[in-house]
């Protein structure tokens, strides 16, 4: 029971991380119609910039604004110089151009920081684990990630549903051309959305620094899972990204944790381990296939 609860928390933590990345990606894809493969690079830039400031100043907390600002600035810059030229092009051109951006950013990080992974410090308070309920020990830093992720989700909910910018974002993801026809400054809206997406990616990048390796190419590792979240949740839907992100995080963690054990009940241990490992690594893609069979546009597709 305790083990299941612990794994649920682990799934939740992985899920909110995926949500932070997918929220930006789904907005960019839904509103601007751009497939941004370089989203993982913004995640990497947030991690490197935040870590650099944290190491230089010795304060973990100063790293947060640094990571956010760096990712958002680079996001604005990329939007203004590259993405803006791609709105009218087809998806192949966008994929090509943003893939080139991945290569460029990776090489730039190598030039500045070198090929070696770097170390992100963690404040003393987050070391070890705390007992949440009797018998369940959990690392406090992972709780912080969950809290930050949920906070961002609530913030985004208010931003999207209660503000004027949010109204335009919702309108943009439902019918882009109508918004433009009504005289809204679409260019500004696009820049804001892209910057916001970059900001969230930077936050995700810096927050994962202390539990993962901050290194070149770290964004590509997580980009695939993020796209799966976007597709399952429905392109352009923040709600979809949230539900799919958490769902995927929990399913992935649960499969990894329990499938081999369950399979061991009725087959040889070595087969159970091998099959369990293979099936759980396919798990999220199987889930995507099933969701798309039932709802071809994803769970909460915006627009019609």
């Amino acid at each position: 029971m305790i083990l299941i609860l612990e794994q649920l928390l682990n799934g939740l933590q992985y899920g909110v991380m995926l949500f932070l990345l997918a929220a930006g990606l789904t907005l960019i894809f839904g509103i601007m119609g751009v497939i941004n493969l370089a989203h993982g690079s913004l995640y990497m830039i947030g991690a490197f910039a935040g870590t650099w400031v944290a190491t230089t100043t010795g304060s973990f907390w100063l790293g947060i604004p640094a990571g956010l600002i760096a990712a958002a600035l680079v996001g604005f810059l990329v939007e203004a110089t590259v993405i803006r030229k791609l709105y009218a092009r087809d998806h192949l051109d966008q994929v090509l151009a943003t893939f080139a951006l991945i290569l460029i950013f990776n090489q730039m990080i190598i030039l500045i920081f070198g090929r070696q992974p770097i170390f992100t410090p963690l404040p003393e308070v987050f070391y070890g684990s705390i007992e949440i309920i009797p018998g369940l020990f959990y690392p406090p830093y992972r709780l912080l990630i969950i809290a930050v992720g949920l906070l961002v989700a609530v913030g985004l909910y208010f931003l999207i549903n209660r503000t004027r910018v949010g109204m335009l974002v919702r309108a943009g993801s439902t019918n882009r051309d109508m918004v433009r026809a009504l005289g809204v400054d679409v260019r500004l809206l696009y820049t804001v959305v892209f910057g916001l997406g970059a900001l969230l990616a930077g936050l995700a990048g810096y927050m994962t620094g202390p539990i993962l390796a901050v290194q070149v190419g770290m964004g590509e590792d997580i980009l695939l899972a993020t796209f799966v979240v976007v597709v399952i949740g429905g392109v352009g839907s923040i709600k979809g990204a949230f539900v799919a992100g958490i769902g995927l995080g929990v399913v992935d963690t649960m499969l990894r944790a329990f499938l081999p054990t369950i399979l061991r009940g009725f087959m040889a241990p070595s087969d159970a381990d091998a099959i369990g490992a293979s099936v759980s690594s396919m798990g999220i893609f199987l889930l995507m296939a099933i969701v798309l069979l039932i709802r071809p546009k994803g769970l909460f597709a915006a627009g019609g």
Partner: protein, 389 residues
């Protein structure tokens, strides 16, 4: 117009600066290595270690002026093979080295040795090329892959542990790692978990380890995966509770740097360490520290040893025109390896010592590996008997 000519001029200037003036007849050594992506530092260190050996002899190896031709394989077997063919057919290179990863080596090495060229591996030592697939033109300076993990198994056994939990990524090298560990450990394996290649979150595995409550954990996760694993092991409160024994790739100097105090208290195993007290190693470490301001890794030591081995052979032959003579000269392994005693076994893989290292806090609080004692003496590998040469 003007801009393009400026660019052209600066490109020409850059190339001119990058290529030092070389003697016309410098012997070319072909280096195929992995320089891009997260694992790029491995290839970088092998290349720089090899270059250091050349620089320390004033641009020569064994008295013969040499030049390295380096290309990045991007960790793709197809690329490795293409580069090898280009080196051999277009540039007439007869001596090749540099490959980091076993999958690249598996696709490239047979092609090289079948073409009559000599290949000296500074890192990868896959099992299929060590046993039945051994070849007289194929030498390994580093180690046979399984031996890395057999050393870890031997360490766990020696420390008196009987119940272990083993984890590795779900691919060939991961499976070989756990098989190698089990071969020398001999105790009970409470759990064998295969993680996904490139996995970033190990919380599910941490909970499984805690539930199984083994006496020792063995895990093999190269590069960034290992860094994430160790940090999460510490954050899960397992470090200091359940001891961990690791094989060499999990504790290179770069990994230790990135992991920080989450590595302190771990038992590591290695065939080389920075603190080895022999003349050759002291000279190597001093030269490295003077030239580079990044940590010295065992990959660099292997690149350097490769340079010393080539130097010892070229000193005897004076060149690569007579491949048979060159092969004989390499086989003698008449060089002072930075790891101490070194000789080639029957399958031309190393026979050398494996050591137990302790990861302790250095003066600045950062983890350092300190050599404890010899674990396996004059150890070859498990495949040499299958090699018929």
């Amino acid at each position: 117009m003007k801009l393009s000519s400026v660019i052209k001029a600066s490109v020409v200037a850059a190339f001119a600066a990058a290529t030092p003036a070389l003697a016309e007849d410098a012997l070319k050594i072909g280096v195929i290595t992995t320089l891009s992506g997260p694992a790029g530092y491995l290839g970088q260190d092998v290349r720089d270690g090899l270059q250091l050996a050349i620089d320390m002899e004033g641009g020569k190896l064994g008295g013969v002026p040499v030049e390295l031709v380096v290309e990045d394989d991007g960790l793709k077997p197809g690329n490795g093979r293409q580069i090898a063919e280009k080196y051999m057919n277009d540039e007439g290179i007869k001596l090749l080295t540099g490959i980091i990863f076993s999958n690249v080596a598996g696709a490239t090495v047979p092609d090289i040795v079948d073409n009559g060229a000599i290949y000296i591996s500074p890192n990868a030592g896959p099992s299929n090329l060590a046993g039945k697939g051994c070849h007289e033109n194929y030498f390994v300076v580093s180690w046979q892959n399984d031996a890395l993990h057999e050393a870890a198994g031997a360490a766990a056994k020696k420390l008196g542990y009987t119940k272990a939990f083993a984890l590795a990524p779900n691919y060939q090298a991961g499976k070989d790692a756990i098989a190698g560990f089990k071969r020398t450990f001999g105790g009970e394996i409470l759990g064998e978990v295969y993680t996904q290649l490139g996995q970033t979150d190990y919380s599910a595995e941490m909970a499984q380890i805690r539930a199984a409550n083994p006496e020792v954990v063995f895990q093999f996760h190269p590069g960034g995966m290992g860094i994430a694993f160790l940090r999460q092991y510490q954050q899960a409160g397992l470090l200091g509770t359940i001891p961990m024994v690791l094989s060499e790739p999990s504790t290179d100097a770069v990994v230790l740097n990135a992991v920080g105090e989450a590595a302190i208290g771990i038992t590591a195993t290695a065939h080389w360490n920075r603190d080895f007290d022999n003349e050759s190693n002291k000279a190597f470490v001093a030269a490295w520290d003077e030239k580079y301001d990044r940590p010295i890794t065992y990959y660099a030591s292997q690149g350097y040893d490769t340079g010393l081995l080539i130097a010892s052979a070229l000193r005897q032959t004076g060149g690569v025109d007579d491949i048979d003579a060159l092969r004989e000269a390499i086989r003698k392994a008449d060089f002072a390896s930075v790891r101490g005693e070194f000789k080639f076994g029957k399958n031309q893989h190393p026979v050398h010592n494996w050591y137990q290292l302790d990861i302790v806090a250095g003066d600045d609080g950062k983890p350092v590996a300190v050599t404890k004692e010899v674990l396996l003496e004059n150890y070859g590998d498990s495949y040499a008997d299958q090699c018929e040469m």
